[in-house]
Amino acid sequence: MKKSSEPFWWALFGAGGVISALFIPVILFIQGLAIPLGWIESPNYQHLYQLFGSPVTRLFLLALISLSLLHWAHRFRFTLYDGLQVKHLNVLIAIFCYGGAILGSLAAGYYLWLI
């Protein structure tokens, strides 16, 4: 039986959907509303630096960023595939979408490593 690679990408798509739906609204609320509107005190540089110094925070951010990107990649691949109906470009679209997500994840990993 020919093994389909879809379960691999679909699992990452599903994981990305769950993690981004759970955490991105929370992060947006804290960073985009609560802090600018003064509902909670703005953390100072030293505090943030310490927070990002922890490997747990960095690992969490890497998972959040890379899985969200892979969620986007799978969805955008099918949007292009079905929406533009360019079946003959399937391989190119897959490389563009998943490749983009992987490059983005690597970049995120690199910058998180630098902290």
Binding site: M1, K2, S4, P7, W10, Q85
Partner: protein, 248 residues
């Protein structure tokens, strides 16, 4: 006085014409008539050459599915007066080749259905002396919803993916495969997986969900497909991480 309503009916007679056309018929709009009654009126009183499939008139046989004003419905379960003042457009089910008038060619669906073995597969049958296969109400509940499918193919007309990818196994076939996969008496999961786990199996589905919207029996094929995706993904990871293990 009974009001009248106009039906614009798709006509295609391959022995007489190369292109399909629409014929208009004015029919009485009786209070308790469904679309199928109006088609039967046309056939009996106005134009005997109109061809369409129907049988039970009560939403059980699944043969009278058509596009009514662009929506796939069972014509025996869709009231005519809902469409007043009209006109009502009646077309054959979308995404299928047309044989004649409102009759579609369904062999693609039947072929795919047979491939997933929609029956109880046993590696070894019990002998008669061993008695029946006992099943609890909970075990029945696991698959009962999917067993309500009447093969009307409305979900195939509603599915944009099937319209674009004719190779896609499609909603009803996957729901019916799940009907047997989830049956405690069945042992054919592995054989069905060979068809369902291919790219043209469940993985073409992008969860548009229209199949479940139009299903007259509330089978929820979209739900069946998502559940199967989870099961297939678990199996895929298991066979990757534990190649010596047996897939379920």
């Amino acid at each position: 006085m009974v009001s009248k309503i106009t039906l614009e009916v798709f006509r295609y007679r391959p022995d007489q014409e190369t292109q399909p056309s629409f014929d208009s018929y004015e029919v009485p709009c009786e209070k308790d008539w469904v679309i199928l009654d109006a088609l039967n009126y046309i056939k009996d009183q106005i134009d005997g050459t109109l061809s369409y499939r129907w049988s039970c008139r009560m939403g059980v046989c699944g043969s009278c599915g058509m596009m009514v004003n662009g929506e796939p419905v069972l014509t025996c379960a869709t009231f005519l007066n809902k469409f007043l003042p009209g006109p009502v457009k009646i077309e054959p089910l979308e995404h299928f080749p047309v044989v004649r008038d409102l009759i579609i060619e369904m062999s693609d669906f039947i072929g795919k259905l047979q491939k997933v073995k929609p029956w109880i597969v046993r590696k070894e049958e019990k002998s008669l002396e061993d008695g029946e296969y006992i099943q609890t109400p909970e075990q029945l509940g696991d698959y009962k919803q999917y067993s309500m499918c009447i093969n009307c193919m409305l979900c195939y007309s509603a599915c944009p993916v099937y319209g674009l990818e004719p190779e896609f196994v499609g909603p009803a076939v996957i729901a019916l495969a799940q009907r047997y996969n989830l049956d405690s008496r069945d042992q054919g999961k592995g054989e069905r997986e060979e068809i369902l786990s291919q790219d043209d199996g469940i993985w073409q589905c992008t969860f548009v969900g229209e199949c479940s919207e139009v299903c007259p029996e509330n089978v929820d094929p979209a739900g069946a497909i998502q559940r199967y995706k989870v099961a297939a993904t678990n199996n895929w990871w298991k066979s990757l991480l534990m190649p010596w293990g047996k897939s379920e």
